[in-house]
Each structure stands twice: as C-alpha cells, then as structure tokens.
Amino acid sequence: MSRRRSWSRRATLRLGLALVGIVVLVALVSLVWLPYALDDTSGGRLSAPSAEHLLGTDKLGRDLLSQLMVGARIALLVGIGSVVIATIIGVTIGLIAAFAAPWLDDSISALLDVAIAFPVLLTAMLIVALQPPSLGSAILAIGLGMSAVIARIARILAKRVVGSQYVTAARTSGTRTLGIVRRHVLPNIAPTLAVTLALQFGAAVLAEASLSYLGLGAPPPNASWGRLLQEAQGTVLEAPVGAIAPGIALVVLVLGVNFVADGLRDAADPTRRRRRSA
C-alpha cells in the first residue's frame, strides 16, 4: 500500500507541476510573443477557429488565443499576489495569537472563526466595491479575504511548535521571541503551511475569475479568464470556443496547483519523512 501510495503521490506532484508548468510557460511566452496584439481588431466579428486564429476571435475581432495567453499571466499574478498578501497578514496574525496571552489568543481565534465563516469571494466582493476596479484591488481584496484561513492554520501549527520541548529549552537559554520564530517556528510550520498556500493559490485564481465574471474585477482591456467567459457566454451559440477555452485554462491551472498541494502534503507528512530517514 505505502509503496503504491508514494508512487501515486509522486505522480500527482509531477502531474501537478506539469500542468502548472504549461500555464507558466504560456505566460512567459506571452511576455515576448503573441499571435496578435491584444488590441488588433482585424480578425472580424466572431470568426470561427482557423489557421490564422486558432481559437477564433471575439465580437470586436480580437484573437482569442492571444487573450487567453495574456490571461495566463494575469491568473498567475493573481494567485501569487493574493497568496503573498494573505501569507504576510495571516502568518503575522497567527504568530501573534500563538505567542499572545490566552485572552488575546482566544479573542483572535474567535474573530478568525467569524471571518472564516465568510467565503473569500463575499469578502472580496465587499472590498472591491470600496475601490475603483483594478487588478491590484482585486488581488488585495482576495488576499485580505484569504488571510483569515492562513492565520488560523498558522496559529494552530505555531502553537504546536511553541508548546514543544525544544522551544521551551530555547526560551530558558535566553533566545528572544523573534529568534524563536525565525529559528524554530517558521521552519517547522513551513512544509504544512505550503500545502495550504498551494490550495489557496487555486482558490484565489477561482475567486478572481468569479469577480471578473461578475464585472467586479479588473476592468477592460484586462484579459482575465473570468472576463473572457463573461464576454463569450452571450455568443456561445455562435462562437462556443470562446466560452469553453477560458474555462479549460482555469481548470488546468487550478487542478495543477491542487495536485501540487497533494504532493506537498505527502512530503510534509512527518510519518513519511521519518520513514525516509530511517
């Protein structure tokens, strides 16, 4: 069982990396080369896929493949940006709670429970409403929305480490809190936290797609996949590819990071690590 399991876990990780790799590659290529410029409207209204336009064109005559490629860039940016924001805020709050006096810890965790009860998208919608629409505010909104989840996990993980014998030992030997955080807490919580972060990456990409789809995300001419879907669905009968391709792109990326998360979870699993070192 365990050998088969570890084989399938490694395969999962590789498959995940491959899927994410495709998206990253496309995003990188889009930086230096696109089949057509994004504002090139020479393609004609809703042309069908052809040798010139592999995925056809939209209502304004723009090449869909080019938009999809730029969308990859945006999706990755959103994923990375919101996860970084959520990590900075979440880990800080989580660590504060873990080291704080019990009453403060309890209040923070009660607040986090309330915050977590709200799906990220709802929080993000509210925050987005506060600002003029832009990719930046969408990323910020999603990052803020996700930080409660990260904070809760960081707190639980950190508390486990803080209660451990070697931290007590470090404390008695006079190491300051920041030193403990840097030397003991962060390295110990990182592997498990990474799994959560990967999952949140996927959630962030989906949340941004939903925001854009609802018209609350980055404004045009931003080729977010969610926005492409919103524009294409009205003409799905005339040009079905436009309503299918961005969805597939989203699935590839999100499935990819979820697989990576699964693979990481295995790597972070202490029982397996022990087995390996034995």
Partner: protein
C-alpha cells in the same frame, strides 16, 4: 449541553454585532455620496442637499450608525437608493429564489457526495473508486459559473430540456415553471459543491474503515455493511458535519454567482447590482441577511456536531 448552546448562542450574537459594525464602517468608506444615486445629471445644489437629507448622508457618522442600528432592531433594512422600494421586502422576495436554490443545490451535493465519497473509499482499490476520486479532484478545480454556462449550452440550448434563464414573474404560483428554472443552476452548484464534499466524505469513510471499532464489530460477527451503518455513520459524520456548515455557506455564495449566469432574481443578483450602482442600502441589507444566515448555519452545525459526537460534549471550547 444547554450550557454549550447558550455559550455558542452568545458567540453568535457577539459575532453578529461585530459583523454589523464592520459592514457599516466598510460601506461608509465607499467613494462618492450615496445621495448621488438619487440625482439626475443636471441636478442643482438644492436638489443635491435635498437628496442628501433624504438619504441621511448629511448626518454625522455616529448618528447614522445609531439610526441604522435602531432600524435593524425593528427589522427595517431601509429603502433602496435606486428604486426607493424598501430593502427588507425586496430581500425576502429574493430569498424565495435563493433559499430554494441553495437547498436544492445542497441536496444534490449531499446525495452525490455521499454516494461518490463512500464508494470511492470502500472501493478504493477498484478502478471506479479511483476514477471517482479523480472526478472529484477535477470538480474542485472548476469554476461554478463555467459549469453553469456549459449546462445552459448543453441542456438548455442543445437539448431544450430546461429554461436557460429567468424566473416566472408570478414566481411560486407557477411551481413547475419556478422549479424548472432552478434545476440547471442547482445542478451547477451541486456538482461543484458535491465534488468538494466528496473528498471529505471519502477521507472520513477511509478513517472509519481503518478504525478499531469497525474491526472489532466485524470480529463480533456483524456484516460489513451493518458494521459500517451502525458504527461508521455516526463516527464518520463527526468531521463531515463540521465542514457542512462552511460548505452550506459556500453553496449560498455559489448561488450568488450562478444567479448571474441564469438571470435569476435572487439575493446574489441584487448584491451584484447594488455594488455596481453603489446602492448602499441594498448592499448593506444583503450583507446583513447573508451574515445572519451564515452565522446561523455555523451555529446549527456546531450544535449538531455536539449532538452526534459524544466526546465533544464534555469539553468547553466553542471554537471550530
């Protein structure tokens, strides 16, 4: 048990108060004056002043909050700034779409996920067990509105089995029409939520399968199915119930997005519309009602979890 319910109830009320303050403060930070929503573009300064008075945006912030809280306590959610219609009745009429949609979707998700999750766990060494896990993985990665679009394309346009959008104007007095309008959106949400629940149920079932009491029960001569039913259900339900609350809240949010795909006059389209038009009263109303629903669901899930899990009854904490 009663003590727990009371403590949990206090937390519920506390959370609600905190959420109300947050909603109020956030909305006052919106750029622009809510009074603008009332004005035609060639409004004079006098008209603007009159509109501000009508909306109450000429009052100090604290006074506005006081008025608002007093209104809330009377279950009055104020009047929409765009249509002038009271928000409360508007929301309750929209809940007639959103609540049935959420429950239908949640039902679909539960049935699918229990069937798929238990099968995937019990038959984890068969090809279809693996396939089910794989499909569930896939389902989690799919945006719900995209499934919505595809379902419309296939079952609405292609096969013509269901309406592709809209809701009967005379809503539930046309039950068949109303129900058929909800089938595709509920399916879209149910599929995605079901995929995510399947994973929990599969791993809960796997835990139960590997547990000592199940082995013991089988050693004592119970059949596998009977053992699973008698011991596994209750023990397996514990971790699942704890996520159901959050999943139900997520389903509600799924409804918010999917309503836009299917042009349903529900809570979600009201919220999206309100955000686009800066209709403070509408946004505020929807958020308050959604918050209340989400917190109530969380409360109910926690209490139910207490009931099904005897081990938790003695402990004190309310977190989770």
């Amino acid at each position: 048990m009663l003590g727990y319910v009371l403590r949990r109830g206090a937390l519920l009320i506390g959370s609600l108060v905190v959420a109300m303050i947050v909603i109020f403060v956030l909305l006052r930070l919106l750029p622009g004056d809510p009074a603008n929503a009332l004005l035609s573009v060639n409004a004079t300064p006098e008209q603007i002043a009159a509109a501000r008075k009508q909306v109450g945006s000429d009052q100090p912030l604290l006074a506005q909050f006081g008025t608002w809280t007093a209104q809330m306590l009377r279950f009055d959610l104020g009047d929409s700034l765009i249509t002038g219609a009271p928000v409360g009745p508007e929301i309750s009429s929209r809940l007639r779409v959103t609540l049935p949609l959420t429950l239908l979707a949640f039902g679909i998700a539960l049935v699918l996920s229990v069937a798929a999750g238990v099968t995937a766990a019990v038959q984890s060494d068969r090809w279809y067990g693996t396939l089910l896990s794989g499909v569930a993985q896939f389902g989690i990665a799919v945006p719900v509105f995209w499934i919505g679009i595809i379902l419309v394309w296939v079952f609405g346009l292609g096969l013509g089995w269901f309406p592709t959008g809209g809701f009967p104007p005379d809503d539930w007095s046309d039950p068949a029409g109303a129900f058929s309008s909800l089938v595709l959106p509920a399916l879209a949400i149910g599929l995605v939520m079901g995929a995510s629940l399947t994973r929990y149920i599969r791993s809960a079932t796997l835990d139960v399968l590997g547990s000592d009491y199940l082995r013991t029960a089988r050693a004592h001569g119970s059949g596998f199915g009977e053992a699973l039913w008698r011991h596994g259900l209750r023990n397996g339900a514990v971790p699942v119930v704890s996520v159901l609350g959050i999943e139900l809240a997520t389903t509600l949010l799924g409804a918010v997005v999917v309503e836009s795909v299917y042009a349903l006059p529900g809570l979600g389209s009201y919220l999206v519309d309100g955000i686009a038009k800066h209709d403070f009263a509408a946004i505020q109303g929807v958020l308050v009602v959604t918050t209340l629903l989400v917190l109530l669901v969380g409360f109910a899930a926690d209490v139910v979890q207490r009931i099904v899990d005897p081990r938790l009854r003695s402990s004190v904490g309310v977190a989770g």
